[in-house]
């Protein structure tokens, strides 16, 4: 229930934004041009007033501040992706403090601290470092033990390519469409990296859309799963996964790195770092480095990335009809991706013998909103049969979805950069 309220609030808010701002928000400069106050003190007070936020605030700023507070509220109250929504939400507040240009405050002003920190977003440096940490914290065993489930992670990339076509249809320029499409990959760092290369002016909108919907996966996916699977399918129990040896776990990042990057070299910064991090984790002799990569390093980058991505939503840049369209496309992309995964799982079942049949619900985990979409599957599985634990099975499409979206992003970069 609570979750539905949340969704409706988000959508209502977004609608309000578009209505209120009317596509372009104009500054409500309340400062008169000439002040004929004779006293120097009044003049000084006037100068001070001119520089305050109260004097320069626009309705756009206020809307965005409300959005920022709402993000923080979601994170604290409902525990929706707090490590991302708290920094992003605070960033939105900071980015929408009204200011006069020329004092090196705004994120788009050269020489400001936010601008320096934003450099890592703009040049696509932070996302690979996040992937390094993710690699160092991810266990790919489930995927190694049941490789064919990787196909579901590939199938869910329908979200990416479907959104690409949709974005073109909605009138976006081709590079913009390519950047927007990666929202369908349900990977924040991948989406930010692609945007930074293809459409830097959309980084803010794309990132906010991606993270918003990822936070809402537990709300978005269950109805689609129920719509697209039969009761009988939802009851399928799967064979427990095979145990995986240490050698296999060491070979996985090495083979994965070479194979995927030979196919899509443009995915090198993302997949190279992901597999490097995983190798450090699994090889057993660099635990110290892996530990740093998955704790302090990823924390520092998460703080800086979240804060500056949030701040990049400065109302004057962010509140455009484009942002609204991107939010609409984002919602569609998550639905398409989920459907793609579910559908492919059902198709796979047509070709599998009875004892090997897979529970098609795990296809939904292919969107790679790790681990939430896998948890959703586990949840739905238990609802239908309290003894059917699907979590481990769902982790395979879940992590392969990450690799899949990075390859898809690499393809977009190859064709459009």
């Amino acid at each position: 229930m609570r979750k539905f309220v949340t969704v409706f609030t988000v959508l209502g808010l977004l609608f309000m934004v578009s209505v209120l701002s009317g596509g372009n928000v104009s500054a409500q400069d309340v400062t008169p041009d000439h002040v004929d106050s004779s006293s120097a003190l009044v003049k000084g007070l006037h100068t001070f007033w001119q520089y305050t936020g109260f004097s320069n605030v626009t309705s756009g700023n206020l809307i965005m501040i409300v959005v920022g507070l709402f993000f923080i509220f979601l994170a604290i109250r409902f525990n929706y992706e707090p490590l991302l929504l708290v920094p992003i939400g605070t960033g939105i507040l900071l980015g929408n403090i009204p200011f006069v240009e020329g004092f090196q405050i705004g994120i788009y002003e050269e020489g400001s601290v936010l601008n320096y920190l934003y450099f890592g977003v703009l040049k696509g440096i932070y996302p690979p470092l996040i992937f390094l940490g993710i690699g160092a914290m991810t266990d790919f065993s489930s995927l190694i033990s049941n490789p064919r489930l990787m196909l579901l992670g590939a199938a869910a990339q329908l979200g990416v390519f479907g959104t690409f076509v949709g974005a073109m249809a909605m009138g976006f320029e081709i590079h913009e469409a390519g950047a927007i499409s990666i929202i369908g990959g349900a990977d924040g760092p991948t989406a930010i990296f692609s945007s930074s290369k293809l459409a830097p002016h959309l980084i803010g909108s794309i990132a906010i859309a991606a993270y918003s919907y990822m936070a809402l996966v537990p709300v978005i996916q269950p109805p689609i799963i129920r719509l697209m699977t039969t009761k009988k399918e939802r009851l399928i129990k799967m064979k427990p996964p095979r145990a995986v040896s240490k050698t296999e776990k060491i070979l996985f990042p090495l083979i994965g790195l070479l194979l995927t990057l030979f196919i899509s070299p443009t995915a090198l910064p993302l997949l190279g770092m992901l597999f490097f991090g995983n190798l450090m984790k699994e090889c057993g002799v660099t635990e110290r480095l892996a530990e740093t990569a998955r704790t302090k390093l990823i924390d520092i980058i998460t703080i800086l990335l979240g804060l500056t991505v949030g701040a990049s939503t400065q109302a004057s840049v962010f509140l455009t009809s484009q942002s609204i369209k991107i939010f609409v496309l984002g919602a569609a992309s998550f639905i398409i991706a989920t459907a793609g995964g579910l559908l492919f799982a059902k198709i796979m079942n047509l070709f599998l013998r009875k004892e090997n049949k897979i529970n098609p619900m795990i296809g939904a985990a292919g969107v790679s909103a790790v681990p939430d979409s896998a948890r959703v599957v586990q949840h739905e599985g238990l609802k239908n049969d309290p003894s059917n634990h699907l979590l481990m099975h769902a982790m395979a499409p879940n992590v392969s979805g990450v690799i899949g979206s990075a390859v898809a992003a690499g393809m977009m970069l190859s064709f459009l950069m």
Binding site: G153, L158, F164, P240, R242, R375, A408, M411, F415
Partner: protein
């Protein structure tokens, strides 16, 4: 934004879409291929080594080991407990007790307290 639908080179769009989606599949299918093959290769290697070392290769050495269903369930349960959101509901608990710990805008001394005091909770 000034591009109109009829101006867009749609054949290019479809090519990117189809080639792109296919390549994603290809990449993962290749990975699947390798990782279906690997256990056999590693096993072969193991068997050979064991033979060399004069040890008897047991019949079931080649069989894959599966994780029992109950273990699976137990793990999943433990995980779902961890994954559960645990909200601290508002409670007028006295929180002033560590008022001056850890604070220091410019003072370096207090940094060190973190090393002396037990970790937070």
């Amino acid at each position: 934004m000034i591009h109109f639908l009829d101006v867009v080179n749609w054949s290019r769009i479809w090519v990117i879409t189809i080639v792109g989606y296919s390549v994603v599949f290809t990449a993962l299918v290749l990975l699947i291929f390798v990782f279906r093959l690997m256990p056999k290769l590693l096993n072969l290697h193991l068997k050979r080594r064991l033979k060399k070392e004069g040890k008897i290769v047991e019949a079931d050495a080649g069989e894959e080991q599966y994780i029992a269903g109950e273990v699976n369930a137990a793990i999943a349960l433990a995980l779902s407990l961890y994954f559960n959101e645990m909200h601290d509901e508002e409670s007028n608990i006295i929180t002033i007790k560590r008022v001056e710990r850890r604070y220091s805008p410019w003072s370096s001394k207090i940094y060190n307290l973190n090393n002396i005091l037990p970790p937070r909770r």
